[in-house]
């Protein structure tokens, strides 16, 4: 006898916004792994093996912003401050902020359960997210 599948079909599961955000949290995490791995490989190509220690490489990987390599032995910052790396860093800010702010909403929902409270949380989180993305991208392109 074939065992019955434990997962519900998509139509019975309810495809709502929270479900989409659940998927988004997973996919944005995967995107961040890709971006971080990409930045670490980029750092190694640019000579990090001789000029940076593991902690410095990881710091660059978590946010490929040229101010993160200031205190290392890298002789010339120019290759680390190209528009290309600024775009990679901007993409990481975008994905990470959305992922992080949604995480904060998930935590808040564990403690704030009234519909009014939750809509206030959502409003604040959207304003906060847009502000942090704007400021973060500004810092990356002016640093």
């Amino acid at each position: 006898m074939a065992t019955k599948s434990k997962s519900l079909p998509l139509t019975k599961r309810g495809l709502n916004f929270e479900m989409l955000m659940w998927i988004f949290t997973r996919l944005s995490a995967l995107a961040m792994y890709a971006l971080i791995l990409f930045a670490i490989i980029g750092a190694l190509v640019m000579g990090a093996r001789n000029q940076m220690n593991l902690a410095d490489v990881l710091r660059w990987g978590f946010m490929p912003n040229n101010t993160h390599v200031l205190s290392t032995d890298v002789p010339d910052l120019a290759p680390w401050a190209t528009p290309f790396w600024r775009f990679v860093a901007s993409a990481l800010v975008l994905v990470a902020t959305a992922h992080g702010v949604h995480g904060l909403v998930v935590i808040a929902d564990d403690y704030i359960v009234s519909p009014r409270g939750r809509s206030i949380v959502r409003f604040i989180s959207i304003v906060f997210m847009l502000a942090m993305i704007g400021i973060g991208v500004y810092v990356i392109w002016t640093a």
Partner: protein
């Protein structure tokens, strides 16, 4: 209202969730820590000047880096475990083993990073 519990706080604190519960707590703690850290870091870099360098100097301190690396690395590796188990639900039967694998990946990477941070701080 949101804090109304069906069990008392002391019972809740004695809950033996073991390995998976510990990862849940650390994941949430790390996520909150990162959210606060990154918000302040971005704002400090934006403001600049004395206030900005006051905060960013704290962030460059080796003791702070040890803490934040724990948060970030654990959140990243635990998040990968959650993603893999969520996208392939059949693997959920091996949740406890997955948590052990997770620590086996986390400890060497984190240990090496802490070792490097400390030797650098001591002028190595």
């Amino acid at each position: 209202m949101g804090l109304k519990r069906n069990v008392s706080l002391t019972t809740g604190l004695k809950y033996k969730g073991q390995g998976p519960m510990l990862t849940f707590v650390l994941h949430r703690l790390g996520g909150l820590g990162m959210a606060i850290f990154i918000t302040v870091h971005i704002l400090a870099s934006f403001v600049g000047g004395e206030i900005g360098s006051f905060f960013n100097n704290i962030y460059e301190h080796w003791a702070f880096q040890i803490v934040i690396f724990f948060f970030v690395l654990f959140h990243a590796i635990n998040g990968l475990r959650i993603t893999i188990l969520d996208l392939w639900p059949k693997l959920l039967e091996h949740l406890r083993e997955a948590v052990w694998v997770e620590w086996a990946v986390f400890i060497p990477i984190y240990g090496l990073a802490v070792f490097v941070i400390i030797t650098t701080a001591l002028g190595g």
